[in-house]
Symmetry: C2
Amino acid sequence: MKAIVRVALKKTVLDPQGRTISAALNSQGYAAVRDVRQGKYFEIDLADGLDRAAAGAQVHKIASDVLANPVIEEFAVEIRD
Amino acid sequence: MKAIVRVALKKTVLDPQGRTISAALNSQGYAAVRDVRQGKYFEIDLADGLDRAAAGAQVHKIASDVLANPVIEEFAVEIRD
């Protein structure tokens, strides 16, 4: 069983790295790009035999305790079989 | 229209950062974690009026030219309305 965790700065927090990428893309001719936000992405391989709900709860705890800084970042967890 | 691009090291490339996170989680008692791979994640806000196929093609080009290093990294593009 796999879990995908995406961590990104909250929408209300300025993301200078994303801004820079967006400006760079615009200057390279990608005019359709209006904004870019960058974040981290974790693919967690979990032991088999965990049920989906338990896996979700555990990964949620891992994300909020270890992978993300809840003060300035938000995260999303997705469980895949 | 939004595009999500996930960039991660190829499966054949050692990911020391992911290994470290995995070991740290195990030592904190998360025994169900077998492996972690870390990558980058970009949320690209695109201008309205692009059709889905054109947006996909453009973001695919952005990902392979700018966001990822195709020698050691692989990427996945997802278009959302």
